[in-house]
Subunit: 163 residues, 2 copies
DNA sequence: GTGCCAACTCAAGTCCACTTGAGGTCAAGA
DNA sequence: TCTTGACCTCAAGTGGACTTGAGTTGGCAC
């Protein structure tokens, strides 16, 4: 089996060598062994890096991604989890769609100032309610990630009825 | 004009008082003055906080949001900028849509393992190319934000043709 | 043998948007 | 008078995903 040194993996994956070392330290990838000092990786690592990239794109943290690999390094995702994440992405899409439409409207709206444009104001209020706040960190309620006291929600209390 | 102390603003906006002090330090909001030690805010601050929330939802950094207020504190967004951001959001939406569909497919796909599902593999490859990487920080190419040596793109080089 | 370069380790730094903690001030109520 | 509680300042900490820097090692070409 072909062995790649870290520089080669970096070139082929587009990631920095430091990133690869970091992933290794976090247990996301593993070198076959060493040649002298140097790590040598099997080609499968490239596939694994693609998986990691996918997980990141789907909004999972590195810790969550790590948990999706079985101890032997093989992929082990439960499908319900995938579906749950898909739904979350779907909600993000809806929020972003509202945002996009609002922005477009505000851009062409004839009101003398944004603050006088009702559509813009609706958007503002929605944002203030936290109804738009974009792509939340994957938090499927299945605490795969370490209990970090997550930086999940900024707004603490829903504001009461408008005074 | 009615004056609110920081606790009242916190209650009505749902933000922590520390956040409000932080926003003030960053020049995003301004107190009318002090009553003794205590800041006193005008009611307009609530509207401004909504605007800030909207800006954040649209993916702007606090520095960028600050730049959208004229020195006198009034709103000053150029409409082309809004459109540009709307387009960016639109691209995010497309990426997320692909992602969602891919996740759903993978969840129901009958292939014995995800790695053998062609659809999943396509998604992986796209992610590895950086084609999915979610909602980029608003970076309209108009450097409103301080030149921070931005943490914008993780992947450094596009990987070359598959070896 | 010696010079170079790519890899190595380990600690510390970066970015962003806040939060936390320690220690201080002040007005109002008991 | 004393206490309480809300506010204050300023410095430092947080989390996630990396990057950077300093100092070291080892293989290969010359």
């Amino acid at each position: 089996m072909q062995e790649l040194d870290i520089g080669e993996v970096a070139r082929q994956s587009g990631l920095a060598a430091s990133t690869l070392r970091y992933y290794e330290a976090r247990g996301l990838i593993r070198a076959l062994g060493r040649r002298g000092l140097r790590r040598s990786f099997g080609v499968e690592v490239l596939e694994k890096l693609s998986l990691i990239a996918l997980g990141q794109a789907a909004g999972f943290s590195l810790a969550e991604i790590a948990a999706m690999f079985a101890p032997d390094g093989h992929l082990q995702i439960d499908r319900p989890k995938l579906l749950a994440r898909a739904d979350q992405v779907d909600r993000s899409i809806r929020r972003l769609t509202a945002l996009r439409d609002g922005l477009r409207h505000a851009a062409v709206c004839q009101a003398p100032s944004h603050l006088e444009c009702p559509s813009f104001r609706r958007l503002m209020q929605a944002a203030a309610r936290g109804a738009i706040r974009s792509p939340e960190p994957a938090d499927t309620k299945a605490p795969l990630s370490l209990p970090t006291g997550a930086r999940t929600s900024r707004r603490r209390r829903p504001p009461p009825a408008p005074a």
